[in-house]
Symmetry: D2
Subunit: 360 residues, 4 copies
């Protein structure tokens, strides 16, 4: 059992609440002798960090990841890597007005019913702040994967749907993704998205998003059959992210609408290399990587922390109303990009080690 | 690690290949003193069994589930329940023609690359025959859940999309589902679906499907935060089923298109009971059940075992073609209904026991 | 959690009761492409089998291990290996007289209190019959270890203390162990032991035993720090065997009586090889194998199934007496030798795979 | 897999090296709503703390345990409890002289061979400093057990053998244990032990120890059969402590020398209560607690950090000598008492939660 631990061989355990002194993670099973510095981790932390544009929450967090153990003379030792991130911008008083109310669409009600505890300070453990720890763990996984798989390995995520606005995926450009505040892969969509999201924010509303992840340079053979399929673990990894409601591998839900002729990714040998003619499978067949790009996507729901008043109940079970005051986050999905990347990095490294264990 | 085991406290391990002497499962962690007979299991086995209509594979399997251990004088003992299902209709010779070819869209290529073994007999372990063991385990879970949660507890699945044909979910009727060969919940759609699927079969083609699962009578509080969220485990459970490519919880992928106003399920207290005004969340908030119905759906891709010749390679890496001869299964998604139900039953029982452990 | 599963990567799950139709195990995580036959397993099964001499129980069981899955064309496939052993000599009526009594020194009372079930048929799941499944799993582990580590790898167990009778370990002879019914490594002790045990049996009494296990050809580096130490897992493996009450690694409990000078195994490099001058550590330092022989021993208590009447209570909580009728097993420890070997083989293979995963 | 995690439901993960900035643990699965303060933990930390008498290492560590998460308004929340302990007295320069040498009897050689890393600073992760984290986790377990089981619950450990000096266990006095620096339960032995250990220290030598643990107020029914037996998990827990080489449950290794008549703990009902006439089983039958006191003991080897020069090799594989300079720890076993208590508390709570899950 592992409430707060993810992974099988490369495992990480996260801890900490939104408004406690700190959050962090402990990574176990990391291969030894891999060069690793706090800088490697900070680069990913910074991409997730709030307050970087007008489109994300204004909480100011430096989110500095500090390594407390597991690295000696610049290299991983094979023992647990403990990473701590101090909470610096925690204003508990902001939550006084909603202290005894359950925010609809949040986990306030279910946490209270389960544990008998109402940690009103930003939701405590249920806060998306926990995802900072995942990003730290994912950064370590990425460094290890790069070391083992080489330069051809890459994982990149992008927002491909911002509320009602789609983008043209045929314009996908990895370099573009890091140049706009939406992680949008299509340069042409950026301006439209900006207008759209500003309108959503002005209306005091919020919108959802779809994030697509692409992993390249993955060898054939990763994934274990039946209950540890690579796509099973990717699905669990992505669905465990706050506010995620759907996960697709390759064609995903759309596979239902395809015919067998369309959906079968035909295989060809060309100039000594095996190539698939299409990639409806998202790079995974029978739970095992095929050598194609791994493609997964997930949907993030719109936050229900909006300006419009919503009906709800309070701790005593009485009917009441609730609304968010001041600035809010019009699309929480945007910041899910580095989190999705982190999770898929962790799954891939975990399966790489599993594969080595049984078949290496 | 658990390649072939599912669950945390209520765990089952499956074993066996499509064309070996038998398949089966071992269930561990089942509560003691629960009345259980082979009949309880057989009812579910029969719903999954092939060869029951012209729309599913013609393999004739009685699929009789035999309990070898863990039940004494009609009650579970708390020790492992071993269930065996003999393979009776296994014609290995049928596979001679494709012995050395990799069927595109199947796991032939990836299994061979991973293990260096080509078990050509119906795909060996990769065959959907494994799912019979899941249905047996799920039947045990259902019996235990009924005993603990009482009559209000129910899990029912239905096909809501058959290839390009949708149904009208506002006509959903549980009783109807078991009356047609498609597990369709909308009586009006049955005739159209029949025509459609006959046409697909005649064309030698295949189509995908979407299955929706609804669980009622689930208490608030099931699910553990972060990496053992109830939806995380449901997602993993469903994605582990053969040919599944997408999983939705509640609004699922469509959550991306909703506004925060639409998506927040408002809460009301009425005549002493807590009610949600909508159920976009699918009964799960922050990974924990809210007391609403749990709603999940998943997409099954169309099988690529079709009459049309497809390009592929053989074991030696040479280009070749492949096509299925004789009758085939036009929509493998139909038989996924009892499998999906089985998996969600197992997840729900597992989380019920986990909740008792920590908070009971 | 894993009530009935042992291991982390090479895992096996056992099932079955003493008097059900069969017992068995499912092995998961076995490397693929290892030649394996039922004969490989049967050799070990035969060494554990009861009824082979006048010193062990007279239950007649052929104990034939049948492979149901996971082996194709003579080689492991990397998928679950299911092994079944039918119970043939199960005379439930023998247990009628003790049906409602709790045998002292057995788990009758605790199982009844835990599960509310009294499976009186030979103790049901608590019976040492379960160990036949371990021996089957251990045989598979041994075959894999031999394949990977080569001929220098060996695990051998012996009885070094039979009740009050010790043997001279300086006479240890591997070949001798298999030549006498006591698994005694010292030829000179065999006759004395025979006399002693006959006397114990005649008196209707029973005695305990100490079994020592020696593994050679183990590479340096197996074992993971802290909670997956090699000795931690060996200790758990041996203590999980029925009737075992103590486990020693190397000097074991006697380490308490040594001085730091005696106990430190000094290290020398000689003709290019690293040698330890002594082996008080039993081949394990800090939980990691040192390349020396792994040495572990464990004590098996005398069975309390004896002819002398013992005081106990019945299911209703009333005071009563109990005694075993007919022939009994004067030293259950003897048959623990192949079981101990099996368990240590499983631990060693599991750690070899774990080491490959993280450091390979 | 869980290199650095212990437990199944109540789980803790430890991290940190002897000479890094801090060590700590993350506790998962703790029941919610249990009053818990840092003081509860500190009391146990202080009992393990070094430098408290002339008989333990002179490293000065306040060992202040700080709770970073999982407690809100004085009560556990059911989410991870992260505890950090800063390393304050870390003089890395002390290790310069042995930087490239492997201390015999320590894990220097095996860690280096496994990971290719030589963390010479006090052994890094292999240091017994890690056990401070266990004591913190054990303190939390103790608080929860007290809350659930009430006042009759208690776990107490004592040194019953100090090198060649035994004590008279019939004089066992719980109150006495905390009054002398040896955790000796027999007042009469204290003076003799003091003389003995001073002599050992003066000689620059070291001695081993046996620690006995007694748990009272444990309900019948804890423990799961076969591979999660209560004694299996206790055995693993104790063997995972640094320098432990042997573990006994009840009669332990001595069970080998008993007859069936002596060893069977007869059962009687007296004035409505079930009593066992003896407790050779150490309170555990078939892996399940019987309601008697749980009795376990373990042996700690003498440290090989002694003044006498010992032969060893260096990192380059060259023969050399090594000896400890300055003060040393004549009996590391003494400080193992609170560690053993901590581990058994964790195992007991874990099994209590497991029992609730399946049978509650």
């Amino acid at each position: 059992m592992s409430f707060n631990t993810f992974g099988k061989i490369f495992r990480f355990t996260t801890w900490g609440e939104s408004h406690g002194p700190a959050i962090g993670c402990v990574i176990d099973g990391c291969p030894p002798n891999i060069p690793l510095t706090e800088k490697d981790i900070q680069a990913d932390m910074d991409r997730r960090r709030p307050g970087q544009s007008k489109f994300t929450t204004q909480r100011k967090e430096p989110d500095k990841a500090i390594i407390l153990s597991g690295v000696f003379e610049g290299k991983t030792t094979g023992t647990p890597i403990s990473i701590i991130i101090y909470n610096e911008d925690k204003k508990s008083r902001d939550y006084e007005s909603i202290k005894n109310k359950f925010r609809p669409g949040h986990a306030d009600y279910t946490y209270f019913k389960k544990y008998g505890i109402r940690d009103f300070r930003g939701g405590g453990r249920q806060s998306a702040r926990e995802t900072a720890s995942r990003v730290a763990a994912g950064a370590v996984a990425r460094v290890v994967l790069k070391k083992i798989l080489g330069k051809k390995f890459n994982v990149i995520g992008a927002v491909t749907q911002l509320g009602l606005m789609s983008c043209d995926k045929s314009n996908w450009n990895n370099a573009q993704i890091r140049k706009n505040p939406f992680f949008c892969p299509d340069k042409k969509s950026v301006k439209l998205w900006e207008k759209y999201l500003l309108a959503v924010r002005k209306a005091g509303s919020s919108c959802g998003a779809i994030i697509e992840l692409r992993a390249t340079g993955i060898p054939v053979g990763l994934g274990a059959p039946i209950y540890s399929k690579l796509d099973t673990d990717i699905s669990a990894a992505l669905m465990s992210i706050n506010a995620v409601k759907g996960v697709n591998i390759g064609s995903g839900m759309n596979a239902a609408f395809l015919s067998g002729e369309e959906n079968s990714d035909e295989i060809r040998k060309k100039s000594g290399k095996i190539k698939f003619k299409t990639n409806h499978a998202g790079g995974i067949l029978g739970g095992i990587s095929s050598g194609q790009d791994i493609v997964a996507s997930f949907a993030v729901k719109p936050t229900s922390s909006i300006l419009t008043s919503r009906e709800t109940i309070n701790k005593k079970g009485k009917n009441t109303n609730i609304s968010v005051k001041g600035r809010h986050d019009p699309c929480v999905g945007i910041r899910a990009v580095p989190i999705g990347e982190a999770m898929i990095n962790c799954v891939l490294l975990d399966h790489l080690l599993m594969h080595k264990a049984q078949c290496g």
